[in-house]
């Protein structure tokens, strides 16, 4: 990745992280958009799997520092999602609407699954409802918002043809 592209990708990720802490509380939805996950997937698919894993770990730890009693759960989930996104992107090697939607949807669902299992805050029916109802809804909202944001950012991160 060229350095200018890396800077632009980092800037886009920073904007998404800021949106997570500004726009998300402002909207206050029950199934809200996870801008951190969009930033994670957006950044991961443009780096090597190792970098993506470290990026996920740092992002997860930063988010976990505000979550009492679940420190490390988000870091583990974000590491897995970041590495998987980067590895899968290398395998599929495509950047289209459907693939981005699937990456974001699956990424959000996987993140929530790992987080819930690690945090051990929910059990039984409550966990099932969360995984079957609320997480897919949040994943859908995140995926839709993510593809819109990625489409809007396309002029920023796409390299011009030589």
């Amino acid at each position: 990745m060229k350095s200018s592209l890396a800077i632009r990708t980092a800037a886009a990720c920073a904007i998404l992280i800021v949106m997570h802490y500004t726009l998300r509380p402002l909207l206050g939805w029950r199934s809200s958009i996870d801008f951190l996950l969009i930033a994670l997937v957006f950044g991961s698919v443009r780096t090597r799997p190792a970098s993506a894993a470290v990026y996920g770990l740092v992002l997860g730890l930063a988010a976990d520092s505000l979550a009492l009693g679940a420190f490390g759960a988000g870091a583990l989930a974000a590491t897995i999602v970041g590495f998987s996104a980067s590895w899968l992107k290398a395998v599929f090697f495509a950047d289209n609407f459907a693939l981005n939607t699937i990456f974001l949807f699956a990424g959000k669902w996987l993140f929530d699954l790992v987080y819930m299992l690690m945090a051990r805050r929910m059990h039984g029916v409550e966990m099932l409802v969360q995984l079957v109802l609320w997480t897919p809804l949040a994943a859908l909202v995140t995926a839709l918002a993510g593809v819109v944001i990625i489409a809007l950012l396309r002029p920023v991160y796409q390299e011009k043809a030589a």
């Binding site: 799997p49 894993a53 730890l61 976990d64 420190f71 490390g72 870091a75």
Partner: protein, 327 residues
């Protein structure tokens, strides 16, 4: 090349594994060991983000509070409107009770139900919640505390339908308050579409040319014809309709009763109508203006009527109902 790729792949896996181990170790640490790490992150890289989140949540709280206050204001506004409507209704009922006391006998109280129609329609009929069983008869006068409302046209056992003074078939013989000028009151039909509120005005026609009425003169029923008793307030003169080449005068009259405010009425029974109502309306308080429209006086298209002499002696009755009734 292939070796480099393999090495890269191994490095990726190694780093990934290391990250997983770090995350697992951190999550497995006891609280007292995790908290310093989390605290350090909160004080450094997460601090600006937390500041942003705090600001966003304040904005949201302010927005929700503003919405709540708007809702409260709207509720108070609605309650105020309801109270005002109740006050108006209470006032009307009190006046109706007063009218009942003054009339003493020979009347049937009834609720007036407005037939819903298109908004631009002129209300010309009312459904009354009293019928034959209560003693209501066809052509019974319908009155309100302010004055003339209409005339019962159709009577069923428990309901009756009355035409309002705005109905094309409505007529009542009338006189000025001092009894000097007589004429026939008709609905004011000659109105263009844009001034529909004027349709609720009335016309006092066939007033002898020598009798000039001033604006503000009260017009009462004269009792000629036997349907309407003498002395029921019809309205107030608001102007004269210019009629070229005519031997009589026509005045525009603002009705004493506003049809929109008619919710409860009195139906005068035939015996009472024959025996008269005395001075029940003569000393009544000033009526509420019926039509808010300015008293714009139009030029009559049908001014050259040749039947004015016959009209002046015509009785205050209604023609057979030839217009189809609105559902």
């Amino acid at each position: 090349m292939a070796r480099a790729a393999t090495l890269g792949g191994r490095l990726d896996t190694l780093v990934f594994g290391a990250c997983i181990v770090v995350a697992l170790v951190l999550s497995a640490l006891p609280d007292q060991m995790r908290e310093p790490v989390a605290g350090a992150l909160r004080r450094t890289i997460v601090a600006p983000l937390v500041g942003l989140q705090r600001g966003a949540e304040r904005w949201r709280a302010a927005w929700l509070e503003s919405e709540r206050q708007t809702l409260q204001r709207d509720s108070v506004g609605m309650q105020k409107t309801r109270v005002q409507a109740l006050e108006v209704e209470n006032d009307r009922l009190r006046r109706l009770l007063g009218l009942g006391n003054r009339l003493a006998w020979g009347f049937v109280p009834a609720e007036a139900l407005h037939t819903e129609g298109r908004t631009e329609d002129v209300v010309t009929t009312l459904t009354l919640t009293a019928g034959r069983l209560a003693g209501v008869a066809q052509y019974s006068p319908v009155v309100a505390p302010e004055g003339v409302v209409g005339l019962v046209q159709t009577v069923d056992s428990r309901l009756s339908i009355a035409i309002l003074y705005s109905h094309p078939d409505f007529r009542v013989s009338a006189m000025s308050a001092d009894g000097a000028a007589f004429g026939i009151v008709y609905p004011h039909m000659d109105v263009t579409g844009g001034r529909l509120s004027e349709r609720y005005l009335l016309e006092l026609r066939n007033v002898p040319f020598r009798n000039e009425l001033k604006i503000g003169t009260h017009i009462f029923s004269s009792g000629v014809g036997g349907v309407w008793p003498r002395g029921v307030l019809i309205g107030t003169v608001v102007g004269e309709v210019p009629e070229p080449e005519s031997w009589s005068r026509t005045y525009l009259v603002r009705p004493a009763v506003n049809p929109a405010h008619v919710t409860s009425v009195m139906i005068l029974m035939p015996q009472r109508a024959q025996q008269g109502v005395g001075s029940v309306w003569m000393g009544a308080p000033e009526p509420v203006p019926a039509a808010k429209a300015a008293p714009v006086i139009g030029t009559r298209r049908d001014s050259a009527r040749g039947d004015s002499a016959r009209d002046s002696t015509r009785r205050d009755t209604v023609r057979p109902d030839t217009t189809p009734r609105r559902p």
